[in-house]
């Protein structure tokens, strides 16, 4: 049986199911309770699970993630909501010095099943702090799993997989796609869903591989649709750390070309990492250098310049063209 869900609602339903299945799952954050969060992703959970399991915290990101670590040390599975990408940073210390490292530091004795939910990316006419794509900072830190979703189906299952995972998971939510709708079969079992760490071929093709994730998957699919000259294979990366290179590389070996698109600035971004790895592993299959399409090397601009900053359909198509022009 399928239900039509938006990405936001799918995460909400996923959280609900995780909370029903496991009493150790807690939701915490600023205004996640009565208010249901700024994007209403936790809407209704407070009413149904109570204030003990859906915790309205003070305005204190460091305190939120720090206490979540403490809860996880004692067997709970906290899911922290950070309101916007840019508000994560006060909690940087807890995340990078503790959360990412305690499993190793304890010789594997401690497990930290903490989920950090962070709405990210631009395109909603917001500004700095409200539109950023900080995923590379997290992906650069071993010990954190970093995932993102591009459709309601993944949103529903991956949030549950993230919660069930014994490692800390940073769960990036594509805020400008929160309202995108699709059918989700919510009656299946969690184990039957595609694994959280696997990339997905979102659209098969032969001439060029286009890797995207989160909010850019839709743009990539539109680009593939719009490009009548080439058959574009679109890969939805889903897991940003670790990256499923098997899927990416086997696609590139078939197509011989790769474009990586993300909203985050190009320099030292995920695209750089993927380009380097693919060059190492698929050098003799490549017909052209890997092309990266992304945001510019500048802080997120004011809303009137946003459309020029964000990589759009044209910029992605231009990237595709460049791999063929080589």
């Amino acid at each position: 049986m399928t239900t039509k869900l938006t990405i936001g609602k799918a995460i909400n339903e996923g959280l609900r199911r995780a909370m029903e299945d496991d009493p150790k799952v807690l939701v915490m954050g600023e205004d996640v309770g009565r208010l249901g969060g700024v994007f209403r992703v936790t809407d209704g959970l407070h009413k149904d699970f109570g204030a003990d399991r859906v915790i309205d915290t003070p305005l204190a990101e460091s305190g939120i993630i720090g206490t979540a670590i403490g809860l996880a040390l004692r067997g709970y599975r906290p899911v922290c909501e950070i309101q916007f990408d840019g508000f994560f940073f006060p909690a940087t210390n807890q995340t990078f010095t503790q959360l990412a490292k305690m499993h190793q530091r304890s010789g594997g004795r401690l497990r930290l099943p903490v989920v950090l939910r962070i709405p990210y990316g631009g395109g909603i006419g917001a500004v700095e702090h409200h539109s950023e794509s900080p995923e590379a900072y997290f992906a650069h830190t071993a010990g954190l799993r970093v995932v993102t979703v591009a459709n309601p189906e993944d949103a529903y299952w991956m949030v549950q997989q993230a919660i069930a995972c014994d490692d800390p998971v940073v769960f990036f939510e594509p805020k400008r796609r929160y309202w995108d709708k699709a059918d989700v079969d919510t009656t299946r079992s969690l184990t039957s869903a595609a694994p959280m760490g696997a990339a997905r071929i979102a659209r098969p093709g032969q001439d060029v591989t286009l890797v995207a994730y989160g909010p850019m998957v839709k743009t990539a699919l539109q680009a593939a649709e719009a490009d009548t000259d080439h058959s574009v294979e679109v890969i939805d990366l889903r897991s940003l750390s670790p990256i499923d290179y098997d899927t990416v590389c086997s696609s590139v070996r078939r197509t011989g070309r790769l474009v990586v698109a993300h909203e985050a600035p190009v320099s030292s971004g995920l695209g750089a990492e993927i380009a380097a790895r693919v060059t190492e592993e698929c050098f003799y299959h490549l017909e052209a250098p890997v092309v990266r399409v992304g945001g510019f090397d500048t802080p997120y601009p004011p809303s009137r310049l946003e459309e020029h900053y964000l990589p759009d359909l044209d910029r992605v198509l231009d990237g595709v063209d460049r791999t063929f022009a080589f």
Binding site: E30, D31, R34, L35, V38, D56, T57, P58, L59, A60, E61, S62, G63, G86, F87, F89, P90, G125, A126, V127, E128, H129, H130, V266, S267, P289, V291, R292, V293, G294, G295, F296, D297, T298, P299, P301, P302, S303, R304, L305, H308, Y309, P311, R315, D318, G319, R322, A325, F326
Partner: protein, 367 residues
């Protein structure tokens, strides 16, 4: 403009300590004040009120982008606080700062143009609603990150102290901000190093939808400085004279005694957290209470009863405020947007290599 936005001269210039009142027993009395001064405060409050109403309207019409937090209900606090500052004093605020920017002496035109994201705005359209900077009037920012302004304001106070200057820093924040680590680190440093700074908590009872009681273990926020042995004062933020007196007292003591203070102003947020927030979490009584505590109306009534604000003067002020706001909005409307070609102009202050790499859409492997 400056003469209307920022009061100058006798009526408000105050000597240190001389007019310190015991805030509990003797509320400031308008009979002790110059009518001209009172009317000036009233005009400034009304200006902020009408400016913010216009801002809300422009936002709803999509003339203003980003997030937009209004000072509606906070007018008495703002005017009282800004009156207490000298021109040479510095101001840091949170993102709810349009009224403060005007109060510190930035023209409504530059503030409105900034809201509209135009290049004639006080931050050239790059800061928007939350990030207004003006070194000339010593407004050192609106800050969108909660608590972001606190350590920075403390550093500005350290610079004054280091140099032996006699300026004071005022650092405004909301009640919710007192729960973030930066608040405690900053208060500790300011107290430890005897810095001339007045931290001002505008307590409107909520941070977004979370109440002070639900988020602060010491809900009497002016006491939160006590673990740093910092004197704290609470004042009725709806009373412009009370705010002015309390703030002047602390600013001048910070200047003279070289130490920090904490001032809490009890205020009301008349609308949602930002323009797009319908504030459904508020009960009807709470919304009523905010409305009943409208500081502009209250002051208006007070002045009318005292015979200071006649029908004629009231109309005059209303007209001139309306004209000023209309002028600001027209100015903003007719100003240019930042050029796309300026997208990289402010990333670095000094030249950087690899210019072309900042344009990933440009051919990177063209010959």
């Amino acid at each position: 403009m400056a003469d209307t936005a920022k009061p100058k001269g006798g009526g408000t210039a105050r000597s240190t300590g001389g007019r310190r009142r015991s805030r509990k027993d003797t509320a400031p009395n308008i009979a002790d004040e110059q009518p001209k001064t009172l009317l000036d405060y009233y005009r400034q409050m009304l200006l902020i009120r009408r400016f913010e109403e216009r801002t809300a309207q422009a936002y709803t019409q999509a003339r203003i982008g980003g997030y937009c937090h209004l000072n509606l209900g906070e007018e008495a606090t703002i005017v009282g606080l800004m009156t207490a500052l000298q021109e040479r004093d510095y101001l840091f605020t949170n993102y709810r700062e349009h009224g403060y920017a005007i109060g510190k002496g930035i023209s409504p035109r530059s503030v409105m143009a900034e809201l509209y994201g135009r290049s004639t705005g006080v931050s050239k359209g790059w800061g928007g609603s939350m990030h207004m900077f003006d070194t000339q009037t010593r407004m050192l920012g609106g800050y969108g990150i909660v608590g972001g302004q606190l350590p920075l304001a403390t550093g500005a106070a350290l610079a004054i102290s280091y140099r032996g200057g006699d300026e004071v820093v005022m650092c405004q924040m909301g009640d919710g901000t007192t729960n973030i680590g930066a608040f405690h680190e900053s208060l500790n440093i300011a107290a430890l190093w005897n810095l001339p700074i007045v931290f001002v908590v505008v307590n409107n009872f909520t941070g977004m939808g979370t109440t002070v009681e639900k988020s602060s273990a010491e809900p009497e926020l002016y006491k939160r400085g006590s673990s740093y042995r910092m004197e704290g004062v609470r004042v009725d933020g709806q009373d412009v004279l009370a705010v002015r007196d309390a703030a002047t007292d602390l600013v001048e003591r910070a200047r003279a005694e070289q130490k920090p203070f904490l001032l809490e102003a009890i205020s009301y947020r008349m609308k949602g957290h930002s323009v797009v927030d319908p504030a459904k979490y508020r009960t009807a009584e709470q919304a009523e209470e905010a409305k009943a505590n409208d500081p502009v109306l209250a002051f208006e009534r007070q002045l009318e009863e005292a015979g200071i604000l006649t029908e004629e003067i009231k109309q005059e002020i209303a007209d001139s405020v309306r004209d000023e706001v209309t002028d600001a909005a027209d100015f903003a409307e007719n100003s240019p947007h930042p050029e796309v070609s300026t997208l990289f102009d402010y990333t670095y202050a000094t030249p950087v290599p690899n210019e072309s790499r900042r344009m990933p859409a440009d051919p990177v492997f063209a010959e």
